[in-house]
Amino acid sequence: MSTPTSPLHGPSRHESAHGHVSGAARYVDDLPAPGGLLFGLPVGSPVARGRLRAVGCEAALAVPGVHAVLLARDVPGHNRIGAIVHDEPLLAEDELYAVGQLVALIVGESVAVCRAAAKVLVLAVDEAPAILSIADAIAADSYLGSPHVMRRGDVAAALARAALQLEGELASGGQDHFYLETQAALAIPGEDGALEIHSSTQHPTEVQVATAEILGCDRNRIVVQVPRMGGGFGGKESQATHFAALAALAALRLRRPVKVWLSRELDMQMTGKRHPFWSRWRAGFDAHGRLTAFEVFTYADGGWSVDLSPAILDRALFHLSNAYYIPNLRFEGRAVRTNTASNTAFRGFGGPQGMLVIEDAMTRAAERLGIDPAELRRRNYYGAEALQGDDTPATPGAIEVDAPLPEGELDERVLASLRDRALTPYYQSVEDCRLPRIHRELLAQADYAARRAEIEAFNARSPLVKRGLGFMPVKFGISFTNAVLNQAGALVLIYTDGSVQLNHGGTEMGQGLHSKMLAICAHELGVPERQIRVMTTATDKVPNTSATAASSGSDLNGAAVQLACAELRERLRPLAAELLGVAAPEQVGFVDGQVGVAGGPSISFAELTRTAWARRISLSAAGYYATPGIVYDREAGRGKPFHYFAYGAALTEVEVSGLTGEHRVLRVDILHDVGRSLLPNIDRGQIEGGYIQGLGWLTCEELVWDPRGHLLTHGPSTYKIPAVGDAPEDFRVTLLSSAPQVNVIHGSKAVGEPPLMLAISVIAALRHAIAGFGEVGVAPRLAIPCTPEAILRAIEEVCAPARATLVSAAE
């Protein structure tokens, strides 16, 4: 027996990397065409609001090669779809709610044929006035779902006695997912009404369920497979379902395989995006910069249907406090209904939009109080430690809530958490706030104090170019906040040559989930990774799965894989002991494809499995995991929605041109907490990629609609995600050392979403640089996204008095 080696916690590569670089990795649109394949082209509503009077199909059907034009009347089951409530017709019936809302599916022998037919399909429509902004929706009382409220103490009283009162409004924009692979699905009809669906989806079970409902059949008729996705980011959590269901509908009607694939333009027009938010807030701070009261009304633009909006709104509220303890608070959130594509999950899921609000308050408080913005944030972190380390008076152990606590809240945990400044607005206790440590380590390794001084010196001598430094801590709650979703399954099959098939309920969209599952499986079974094959995700292997979302893929599926593998290993261990002549089975180790005793005899894993088969021992096992202890009462705004929190912090340095408003990110330092990383370089990729995606949302990615609700930015020529030159040349990412997380697979932490919010540091950095153009103490007003135009506008405002002549010259 050799020294135990495990792929866990060590260097790794993406499990499909060689397939990626050679073109061998297949995506839905790359699958070999089954005989008789037809293509489906969805046709969307031409108006943002209106009535569909009639659809004239004759000319479209007359185009050679067109087989069908499917409408709502062709749906045999329920023409209703939706992730939380079934409020969307799959194909429009009469009312039209958004440009691009699905109206028809043209099925033909090629995409070109379908496009020719689409040009002559007649949609008779009465256009009606549309609601195209959050402000319009509020004015029209156009809401989705009920408000969500969290409250504690007495905000008005606390504000009245605050040393500094601030108020503000903040709007953040949408963001297209811009996964490189657009939505795609291939449906192949089988016997007895069965369907095999290959879908680029984060949620194969939802595709299965929705398709069964659309078709009016049992779920066992439908098998959904996900080879891999060319990116998801939330955009294929609920919204891949529609296109898969359309392919299935057409395949069943025409008894031919049908593929639905969206061009970039259609994808951007038809699918939802990150929710734009609009918030207004009031905050009270004491003289030392400690937040004493925070009141927020926030509105999320849900688009035309519910989709995942309530859950996204919830997560925004959960993250309105970000990393900070707030004694007195009132948060109220609502989702509004507008006539745009139905907005949906996007990495962060409302969290980034929520955090932006309190970070705005923090940045402005630091500007007003003249306290270093990182230090001001540090003083507000959850936990008693935030009271230490500076000279400012504060009373440890005091309950700073400005109203008597109601009877029901006087339990010991709540009181202790209040004394420790550790109680979130939703009454979950923050038990292990790692931010004070992260803060210390990051600021030291990034040389924060010296660099701030350097920047001030640079700005003093550079009139037309200024620099800025922005700091951002992140605390992100990990779990589906809908408790029932926190479950996962795995199915591990061992063959008698010792090779293994690994099935689990998660989907691979690039995040490295399969790589991590492979490493866990290899670790548990003690076989080399090359002996294990990660299988295509399929609903007939692991049923009733949750979406691969909420950063939870590794936590949930990893635990299920571990349990399945452990069961198989323990089933084999007594046999191994017997074969090896070892009295104590617990001494038998499984290492590198060998089973044996350290320094003693061993047999190969293959031989063990062969013998197990001969002894009639089962070589397959299912694993099942459910996260314990998750509960949340939305009506009360109280509970424990998260299993734990992921932490991180970032420092971003920018340079801004005062002539054009262009900027460049010069350097980024990140220290991020992934617990004991399962695969450190995979996690680093998530951190770097998440940061740049957040940077795109906040700077260059701008969605523009015309006044009638048509998206104008529907391709990469007009919608600009970051390119290589937008990434900082100096990009330093460190994982927090010696920080295992209890009760999570191998001490790791989720990493998919939290790093995106580190990019919010760019806002503080830009404000710092912009402020450098003006008189001391003039606070910039900076719109999001911070395009060159938005930045130049902010610069012009801060130096309006001095540069009035320049503005008038230009106008």
Binding site: V21, L180, G231, G232, A810
Partner: protein, 491 residues
């Protein structure tokens, strides 16, 4: 002329007598040849997922691999040439190419969908011999959008492989490459596509098919097919005429052939054309490497878009257009070439043969600027090409201030020019003259910027120009500019 399409794909000869010539290379790869490694991410040359490599045997520096967007390449554009896709990089023994291994090693792929394109852009970089400046690596890779990695690993992979020119089958192929004729013609009823190999053939086909659209790189015209789903029934390509390609020094300046690619032009600027610093500065932020490998200077001018990036620079430099037809050659100042929105002075049967750019004298100051939402691979919100000559007393004796994105055509700011003429070239005088700019343009609001922004930036670019040229006559590329004007630290 040959009617059969014939080219090498991954060193295998492909011959096709029936495919429609307006089929894109991308569609042909995926649908006809079932090579699905090459992906469609946008069908508009803006994401790079479809990047393949073309062996350009006639490149000015000798045979070169060129990364191109297969979504914008029509099949006759590869006639007689060699094309490589991501499936063609492994060696005979199945070993991965060094660029593939670099991407694997650096974890340069996550979802993998952009990866084939990234690999092919790196493949070009691997065999480039003209990669000297650090900025050229970002320039090489800016045409490949990646939504997953944040680019750090892709940059690391690029650093590892760029200009390594391994001695392998691909290096041997480059050495042995000979120029092949691109001649091709196919006519089917109302449709035709011709790549004439001589001027005589060109004039004949233009006379026979006067409705034909001229095409060369096709990076703009192909969008008609791929994004607007309209037809291009009659096309005549100028790519088969070597006389139209290349940069040459002529008396008093330079002659740039109309089908010179922007990559050729960039290489020429880097190699020798000191006077062309303003062009180089624009080319750094002009589209992507893939587009520059196909797009031509002639195409950029003849589509007469108000936001074509070269037009303001060439207007500023005082360039002239050399027009050629069966009847002969004539020259017009570029000022007179742009007539109206997407209209030029070209007559039926006439082509733009070359652009003549005068040398920049020592008393001149010149620069080019481009402002866009994203620094790389974006369409200008405002583009500018500025040029002034100063007399012995430091007064402006000649001035050309040309803009893109401010009007229906690329245009000069005549009022502002008049206000500056004869004045000392100084910040104060520029400030005094700038109100005149309001009489030159009434810019519009659109998705790239508001009229307010365009107006202010148009003025601020002149402010930046006068400051930059206080330091240096021909401001060159800065390593890491925070904006189009390079004023990182002023004295």
């Amino acid at each position: 002329m040959p009617q059969t399409l014939r080219f090498h794909l991954n060193d295998r000869l492909i011959e096709d007598r029936s495919v429609r010539p307006t089929t894109t290379l991308l569609a042909y790869l995926r649908e006809n040849l079932h090579l699905t490694g090459t992906k469609e991410g946008c069908a508009e040359g803006d994401c790079g997922a479809c990047t393949v490599v073309l062996l350009d045997a006639d490149a000015p520096g000798g045979p070169s691999y060129r990364a191109i967007n297969a979504c914008l390449v029509l099949l006759p554009m590869v006639q007689g040439r060699r094309v490589y896709t991501v499936e063609g990089l492994r060696d005979a023994a199945g070993g991965y190419h060094p660029v593939q291994e670099a991407v694997v090693r650096e974890l340069g792929s996550q979802c993998g969908y952009c990866t084939p394109g990234v690999v092919m852009a790196l493949f070009e970089a691997c065999y480039r011999k003209d990669l000297r400046e650090p900025w050229q690596l970002d320039d090489q890779m800016c045409g490949n959008l990646c939504r997953c990695t944040g680019y750090r690993p892709i940059r690391d992979a690029a650093r590892a492989v760029a200009a390594t020119c391994p001695e392998d089958q691909f290096s041997r192929t480059l050495r042995e490459a000979g120029s092949d004729s691109m001649a091709f013609a196919r006519t089917e009823q109302t449709r035709s596509y011709a790549t004439p190999a001589s001027f005589a053939e060109l004039w004949a086909v233009l006379a026979a098919r006067p409705q034909s659209r001229l095409i060369c790189g096709g990076t703009d015209l192909a969008l008609t097919l791929t994004r607007r789903y309209q037809d291009l029934p009659e096309l005549v390509s100028l790519e088969g005429l070597p006389e139209l390609r290349g940069v040459a020094q002529v008396a008093g300046g330079w002659r740039i052939g109309a089908t010179t690619t922007l990559a050729d032009l960039e290489a020429a600027c880097l190699a020798e054309m000191v006077a062309y610093v303003p062009l180089l500065r624009m080319l750094r932020y002009f589209a992507s490497r893939q587009i520059k490998n196909r797009a031509t200077i002639g195409g950029n001018l003849c589509n007469a878009s108000p936001i074509g990036d070269l037009a303001p620079v060439l207007l500023g430099l005082g360039a002239r257009a050399e027009l050629r037809s069966a009847a002969g050659v004539r020259e017009v100042a570029l000022d007179e070439f742009f007539l109206a929105y997407r209209q030029t002075a070209l007559q039926p049967g006439e082509i733009l043969a070359a652009v003549r750019v005068p040398d920049i004298p020592a008393n001149a100051r010149a620069a080019a600027y481009k402002v866009s939402k994203r620094r790389e691979l974006d369409i200008s919100t405002v583009g500018a090409g500025f040029y002034v000559e100063l007399d012995d007393s430091g007064r402006v004796s000649l001035v050309r201030l040309a803009y893109g994105g401010m009007a229906a055509t690329p245009a000069r700011a005549r009022h502002l020019e008049a206000a500056l003429l004869g004045k000392p070239w100084s910040i104060a005088q520029v400030e005094a003259a700038l109100p005149a700019l309001a009489h030159d343009f009434q810019p519009i609001d659109d998705l790239r910027g508001s009229a307010w922004y365009r107006g202010l930036v148009a003025a601020n670019l002149v402010r930046g120009f006068v400051r930059e040229t206080e330091l240096v006559a021909l401001p060159n590329l800065s390593q890491r500019p925070s904006g189009t004007v390079h004023l990182e630290v002023l004295p």
